[in-house]
Symmetry: C2
């Protein structure tokens, strides 16, 4: 397929084909490439464009330079009836993530709960795609990953922990799943960069300067560190994610995680954890659907402070965007599209 002739709005199937071909062009096998594309295409459908197919740029560079191993064999080891360890062996992150997800679903189906700890991995995309796939099969989930260091410990003055993402999912049998996917900083660095561009001060809860002091100057903040939500509470949550994802999985943690920027050829050895619970063991789908609908209705029933902004439940925005994108198709960013085309053109000719 010559995607340049495709309509400017791509269907989910076209995105999957394009993504799969691109990762095949970067040296992955068919099945592996399809798994990676699945995560990034779901991110696109959810509207998470910064964590979607645009990642072809950084993943592609690392795959091309062998900073990520396109031939890595992901291995699974059973540690207990309800726990497995996944050795990523420096495979591309979403492939490790998908293998961990599949293993945790399989274990949870058998035992009620499945815990998978993954090491030897890389950036695995956003968490929502994994929570969504789990929820579609009836699994509640707690999923986390550690990350390159960008946050100083509370009271400290240099970056020693990552802005580790943590996600939760609870299935609604009729599709309106609860999905929360959050990093531990008050805001992403992009928001500080935007304030700098507009010449605006930032709230002093967002970031510190290089000496670790809270600042309202976006320029000083970009030289400093992101502040975690709730001060010591967010610091503690970020540590918890690193302990479960990195320390207990036998991956790197804290400052042992290599930066893609500073050490482009060294494996990052990131870690992830997946905790899945099979809700089919807890009650009938009718029971769960009734409770999940009631739960959302109670929250929606709180009178909105701003009539234009009614109360929402985490996951609503992403699932709403997905429904819209599945109906209308989705326009890819032009440079992302071009890069996907370029890598895809290397694939599938044999």
């Amino acid at each position: 397929m010559n995607v340049n002739e495709a309509p400017s709005l791509l269907s989910a199937a076209q995105l999957r084909t394009l993504g799969t071909d691109a990762f095949r062009g970067l040296g992955l096998g068919c099945d592996e490439a399809a798994q990676v594309a699945e995560v990034l295409v779901l991110a696109e459908l959810f509207g998470l464009t910064t964590h979607g197919l645009s990642r072809i740029e950084s993943y592609g560079e690392r795959l091309a330079s062998r900073g990520i191993d396109p031939d890595a064999q992901v291995q699974e080891h059973s540690l207990a009836p309800a726990i497995a360890r996944i050795e990523g062996n420096n495979a591309v992150g979403p492939l490790v993530g998908m293998r961990a997800l599949q293993a945790s679903m399989r274990i949870a189906k058998a035992q009620g709960v499945g815990v998978v700890l993954a090491n030897g991995s890389n950036h695995f995309g956003p968490i929502s795609p994994y929570s969504y796939l789990a929820a579609e099969k009836g699994f509640a989930s707690i999923i986390g990953s550690n990350a390159t260091t960008t946050i100083a410990p509370t009271g400290g003055s240099d970056a020693r922990l990552g802005n580790s993402p943590l996600g939760f999912g609870v299935p609604h049998p009729e599709g309106q799943h609860f999905m929360l996917d959050m990093a531990m900083s008050v805001v992403a660095r992009a928001k500080i960069r935007n304030a700098l561009k507009r010449g605006e001060a930032i709230p002093e809860t967002w970031a510190t300067d290089a000496a670790g002091k809270p600042t309202t100057d976006p320029r000083a903040a970009l030289d400093g560190f992101l502040l975690p939500i709730g001060g010591h509470k967010g610091y503690g949550l970020a540590l918890m994610v690193d302990l479960f994802a990195g320390l207990l999985s036998n991956a790197a943690y804290l400052t042992h995680v290599k930066s893609w920027v500073d050490a482009p050829d060294e494996p990052q050895n990131l870690g992830h954890f997946f905790i899945l619970i099979d809700t089919a063991r807890l009650g009938s789908t009718a029971w769960l659907a009734e409770r999940m609908s009631d739960f959302a209705a109670i929250l929606h029933g709180s009178p909105a402070i701003d009539q234009q902004a009614p109360v929402i439940v985490p996951g609503e925005i992403e699932l709403g965007k997905m429904r819209r994108h599945l109906k209308t198709g989705l326009a890819l960013d032009a440079s992302t599209h071009a890069l996907l085309d370029r890598y895809a053109s290397r694939a599938g000719k044999e």
Copy 2:
């Protein structure tokens, strides 16, 4: 024992005896009373006095009025090899919590992971005592409870969710466990009351007025709602805790949770969740000890902004206070002591 003749500093053993006798005086059996006392005494030892034996006041009132059932039989049902449900049947909270902890440890020992969902419960004390007892046996833990509604949904204008506590523990085989025990609000209401007493304004990130608008006036804040950490992130976290602790356990959730103040005679039907992982399945104790020590050392190594306030790891403060209290003994608040004595005097005479 006439505790009025005891030294003003009580040993842990004396606290346990006094607490056990007091709950026996309130109608609990010996074993049940000892379990409840264990949680509250650990809270005292950790320095969490607001969540320690002082709770004898509210627990005692509810037990005396049968708002909590002193004769409740806590029941356990296996739902899957790695999941159990605990039916609290309106027993006192820490008893339900301890039974859930014991069940989750037993299951995790067998399966690697143990998940217990508890319903029919009441306020179960702080989370640290459970995390600590789990960590002492080598279990990493994620534990949460829902709570009476005090927080408005993000964008909403009435209280529809609780300031649900969430705790994490990771064991250090040499005792310096990671323990994080946090509620979802930026601050507790007590901090706002203290600002009012001192005639000070509060930061506008702490609370809203009754209409849901952030306020710096402590008086308006006390009529309004606590704000969760990180805005929508804390809102999402609080919902996640309620989903796992309340909705999935078949307990009450959100506005279905009855307030002790507004409905003193109705069972609260609170829920809790316990997720325990047996770290013995992940590696040797030497492996874990080396990694946990290294993890703490990296954090402690971050140069402190304020030399008087070095970086700490969650759990250090509580474990440090416990060591000190075990050495020197602990002075109870006089009114708490008197109330414990009063209930204890009813017990053990038969």
